[in-house]
Every structure is written in C-alpha cells, then in structure tokens.
Symmetry: C2
Subunit: 399 residues, 2 copies
C-alpha cells in the first residue's frame, strides 16, 4: 500500500475548517459541540468514499470499519477549548489515509477510528476509557462538564447517529500517531519517536505546618517558616532524585499555597503539589519513598508538622513489544538515524486500547514543544514522514 | 520616687475592662471606637487624680502633663481589632505610674501619654506620626480606614475633648516600655531588653518569568521552571546572607504567587515578596545588593526574565545613646545579668518621637512571643520588674 501525502495533507487542512479559531491554524472543537459533530459527519463521508463502513458507538466515537479482523489505527478529532490543528486530528487523518491506501491496495485489512472526548470535557480520554472498561460504563452517564452540563445532555446532540458498542475482538491491535506535545524531537532535530511506554503519574499534595509569626520580631533561628521548609525540601529532593531518575523522568511542584501569604508574616503553613512521572513502576515507587523520606526529614529537623494527601495517579502502560519493533523498523527505513525510542509523558487513547489489544504509538515533532495552544504546529514534511512510518509499521504488522 | 506595683497592676487590669473581648485577657479597642474613647476618659481621670493635667491633642492622643520641662513616658492604649491586653496599654499605665510616683515624690518632672491609633486603623503609628511630622499634618484628614470610614468621621466621636497640638519643646525626651512581641527574651529567660534601634525595613516584589509547559512532556533539562528558580534563589540567598547578617537580622519570603499554579503544568511565572530588616542602613544596603545580584545570577543561568518591583521601606532609627545608658544601668540594678540589648523588629511610637527629642525603649518578655492576639501575655512579675527598670531610668535621666 502507498499512502498519498497530498490527499492526507488536504484532508488534514479540511478537518481544521471545522471549528477554525481564526487565530493561526488553531481550532475550537470540544467533544459534542456543533463543530465536533460536523467534523465527524464529514469524516464519516470520507470513510464511506474509501469503502470503509462508518459506525458511531454509544459514546460517539466514530469507526471506519473493514470486514473481518483488522488493525485499528486512529486517535481523536475533538480538541481542547483552545486547541491546535494537529493534536488528535493528525492521528485520525493518518489512520484514515492508511486504511484508505490499504483498501485501494487490496490489503492488509486496516480500520480507522476517531475517539470521542479524548480531551476530557467529561473526564480523561472518556470515549476510549468507556469502551475499554477503564471507565465503568455505568458511571459514564453521571459525568458532568465544568459548566455543569451532563454527558447525556451533551451527547444528545449526536441524535440517532449513535449505535452499539463495537466488539474489540474484531481488531488485531491498535496504532496511534500523535504530535509529541513536548520539545524532545524538535530540539534534537529528529523526525520520529517510537513510544516505549505511556508514563505513569503519581500526584500528592504535601503540607508543612510550622508557626505563623511576625516577620520583624521573630529571629531566624526561632522560626518555623513553612516556605523555608518547602525550599529546603525542594533542594534536598532534587539532589536525591538525581540518583534514581533517567533523562525521561520528570517531577514538578506546580501548585503552591502559602498561609497567610503576606509580606510581613513568617508563613506558618504551605500546601503544595508534588507530581512525578516515569514509565517504570519500580522507579515511581523508589521516587515515592524518597519524596516521603525527604519531607519527613525536613519536617523533623525543623520541628514542623507534616501531612501527606492521598496518593493519586495512573500506572504506566508499556507499548506492545512486537508493534514497537515494527515501528522501529519502519522508522529506520523512512528516516534512518533520525528517530528515537522515548516515553510519552502525556496520556493518550492508546493507554486504554492496550487493556484490550496490542497497542503502540508513534510521535512526530512539535515545533517549540507547544501543545494545547492555537500556536501548536509541525512541519508538513514531518507530518508526511510520520504517515510513511505509520504505514510501514501497519504493513509489517497486518501485512 | 517609688512606683507602686499593686496600683500599676490594678490600673492595668482596669484598663483591659474597656473593650474586653471575653476571650482570655484579650481586648478590642481600635482607635476612636467607643471602648477606646471610654478608656481614654478613664485615663484622663487617673491623670487628674495624680495631679497631672490631662490634655487631648487634635488627633486624640492624651497627655498627662506636669508644668515646665519634663520627661515624657508612654505608649498607646488603642488595640488591634483582636488585640492583647498589654501591647501599648502596658507602656501607658507604666508611664502613668512613673509620672504619678514622681509627682508624689516631688520630682523629677515626668509627663505621660497615650498616643492615638498606633495600631494603624488609619495608617502607621498615626497619632505620633502626625504630631512629629513624619506624617504631613495636611494629609491626616484624607486618611480612610479599611472599611471606608474617613479619619475625620471617626475622630468626630471624640467631640470637644480635642485640643491644640502640644509643643514638643516642653519635653526633654521620651521613654517607651513595650512587650517585646517576639520570643527572644522569653526564650532566653531574660527579664528586660534595652532597644538599640528600631530596625529599618526593605520590601520588594520580585518576579521570575520562565516558560509555562506541560509537566508530563517537558524534560527537566529543557524546563524554565519559575518555582525552581525561586527555590534556587532562596537557597543561594540564604547562603550568601549568612556572611553579612547579625543574629538580629531577619529576612522573609512571606508571599508567593505561582502562575498558573496547577499540578500538571510547569509554572511559567512566580511573583514573591522579599523583605529584610536590620538596624544598620549599611547592612540593609549590602543585603539589597546581594538580593539583586543573586536574583540576576539565577535568572541569567536559567534563562528566565527577571523583574524587580519598587523598593519600599522605612529607615532604621537608633535610640538615644544617653537614654540607652540609663536603661542599661537601671536594668543591671533591677535584674542583674538578666537583660540584653536588642533591636526592635516592629515599629513603635518611639520611632516618631526620636525625630523630635531623645528617645529610647524598654522591652519586657512576651510569653511564647505571641503578639496581636487575644492570647498575648506576660508574667506579672516581669511587668513589675519592667516598671522598676523604667522608673530607675527615668530617675537617672530626669532626676
């Protein structure tokens, strides 16, 4: 099979006319909005033209099906409220093009999909989570968006398009192509990333409680300053984590709330978020132990009370070894020496798919690492090379 | 002269019945409230009984005057909205008792005072600031409290009590006794503190602007994390300041505002307060240079933009050397080896008085360093010892 770069780019540009933001190439196509549904109707037409049977599931995810067992390729066409033109849409049109090219070539059997609400208006990767059972299906109708609209109210806009759940057993596996949403490939000048794993996330709120005091009359050595405890914790933690992390591991203090948060008062309390991500569950555990020990040590040494909030998170998901091998071979053939294996630090529909079938992902560069922003973009030559790698892998897997 | 400890303590307890909070010994006696004015009327009666002429100035500060040149002793009887029973009140009743005892003994000539609005309902040490000219008198009537009440509206409640400005030239100097409002004396088990200087304050808002990014997809080495910049700045600053500070120097980061302040986003911007206090203007300057250099170094090394807000502050005020000597001698006589010289990290009326006449301050311990709180307290034995040190110093100065 030979995918057609011009047809692929043309469809990608047409898709961005649905919900075009009028700012750069940006789009506004949140799940179940008029623009989202119009885009799905247009997609269903393209599928039909390509000889694929369009079918919506009960969530509104749109499949373009071939008969018999097939490889499923796709992503999502809904966007963030202020989204980029590629995020999700790229993987959908790439899936359509590979399925279309395969159909034209008389095989291999490839179906395509655009999942609904990957961007999480109602949750996290809601459409694929409900299909895979990662989100219990009896919980779906209880979901509410930030404006208080229920999922059944929003989904009603899809009317009689909605059909039955698709049997996952008809698919031999899942491939997803996506923009990296980070700066790694763009910075290194590489054209493709074969995802090893979608990283796990651990996220915990930590509080230090010391003693609120007058910032003029309380000598330094008698203070129990919550901000200074946070500063010391952060320094010591950074030192200690260096011994266990890989260059792909990340950790972040993104939220800090000081009390009472006034210039002339020694802060008595701080509550902050501690989040870390890695593809290896053992490493996540070791990092957790270091976070807890370091916080305990700082609180103990400085005489502050310490509280850990509940540990939240999702487990890492390894990508299928065989599918990764196919992506590596196709990458080396298409962009020799200009690809790497890398983790995905963001969640994707492929996480849910891997619960049901072999799944793998391919990244293309994001210019400047920009994501979830109208300014998001990728060089079109990189988009086409990504399509070729994807098609090469599909041929290896399903051929 | 011999001050009477029982009469002093009895008057101190009577004063706290005006605006008694019903929580511990706490009081609610903000400037110009009914409780504040009733307390001042009661004070004026006590002054009259003692043979002192009560006189209110145009702000409502109440003086108890002897004829001819005299030493002025006092503080303020207004309180915080939720105040302690001693803060300010202690110095007023101590001033009354020393003036009363001196009158009874036929000298030396001592007058007493309760300044109005030291607690700053309308400003900062408003009554003594207006008298001394630290606050321009034509600005006074433009002041407004946090509820939008103007100073003239509030002051109207004092009716025809208000008289003319008192001529500062009739006073040979000013002594103020006050609770420490910090933990130094209580922690060391000492009974008195002779104030060397009321410290100067410098206060500046600093901002680091890096790059807001996805906390999953942005590798650590490509981040421009504003919180990490703040952490590194804080560590480096603490190290560097150790070389120039004294044990009495303080510095505080009390306010921190991260943007966008979300768990999964590398923070792109932080705005924080940097405040430092010391009695030596040269040291304040050296600290400022270190703050600026350190922030510039961190921002430069990490590729962040840096912004300094305007430099705010008040200059340090040294206490009169001769008056300090008198306080030292009286302290050594009354509580030998159990006193120290120390700075005041908080502002007091004595700051303003030192613009017009020799001025000095005496501290007594605050239990647990608690201040501006219903729970504020001091052992009564320490209150009496403070009164005796004050009287001893007054006799040395005015005798």
């Amino acid at each position: 099979m030979t995918p057609d770069p011009d047809r692929f780019l043309s469809d990608l540009h047409t898709l961005r006319s649905f919900g075009a933001a009028g700012v750069g190439k940006g789009v506004q196509r949140p799940a179940y909005t008029e623009a989202d549904i119009a885009a799905r109707d247009w997609l269903a037409e393209r599928m039909k033209e390509a000889g694929l049977a369009p079918q919506f599931d009960p969530m509104g995810s749109l499949f373009g099906l071939v008969e018999g067992p097939s490889l499923l390729i796709g992503s999502h066409s809904d966007s963030q409220p202020e989204g980029g033109w590629l995020d999700g849409a790229l993987g959908v049109i790439a899936g359509l093009e590979v399925a279309r090219a395969a159909k034209e070539a008389g095989g291999p059997p490839v179906s395509c999909v655009s999942f609904q609400d990957e961007e999480g208006r109602f949750g996290v990767t809601t459409g694929s989570a409900a299909w895979s059972g990662a989100l219990a299906r009896d919980k779906v109708d209880g979901l509410v968006d930030p404006q208080g609209v229920t999922l059944p109210e929003a989904r009603a806009a899809m009317g009689d398009r909605l059909g039955d759940w698709i049997d996952p057993a008809r698919f031999t596996g899942f491939l997803e192509m996506h923009i990296e949403q980070g700066p790694v490939l763009d910075t290194s000048g590489e054209a493709a990333g074969v995802v090893e794993a979608i990283v796990g996330i651990r996220d915990m709120v930590i509080s230090f409680e010391g003693q609120q005091n007058h910032a003029g009359t309380t000598p330094m050595d008698l203070r129990k300053d919550a901000f200074q405890a946070l500063g010391a914790f952060n320094s010591l933690l950074n030192d200690r984590l260096r011994n266990v992390v890989t260059p792909a591991t990340v950790w972040t203090i993104g939220h800090v709330s000081l009390h009472p948060n006034a210039h002339s008062i020694v802060p008595g309390r701080v509550k902050f978020s501690m989040q870390w991500r890695d593809g290896d569950p053992d490493r996540l555990d070791r990092m957790e132990a270091i976070v807890r020990e370091t916080a305990q040590e700082i609180a103990g040494d400085r005489g502050l009370a310490l509280e850990f909030g509940p540990m939240l998170g999702v487990a890492p998901v390894a990508m299928d070894a065989g599918f990764r091998g196919a992506l590596r071979e196709a990458a080396e053939e298409t962009v020799p020496g200009r690809w790497r294996e890398m983790p995905s630090g963001a969640l994707h529909d492929a996480s849910n798919m891997s619960r049901m079938m072999p799944a793998a992902m391919l990244f293309v560069p994001s210019i400047g690492g920009i994501s979830h922003d109208f300014a998001e973009d990728t060089d079109e030559a990189d988009l086409v090379r990504g399509l070729q790698v994807l098609a090469g892998a599909a041929a290896r897997i399903a051929g």
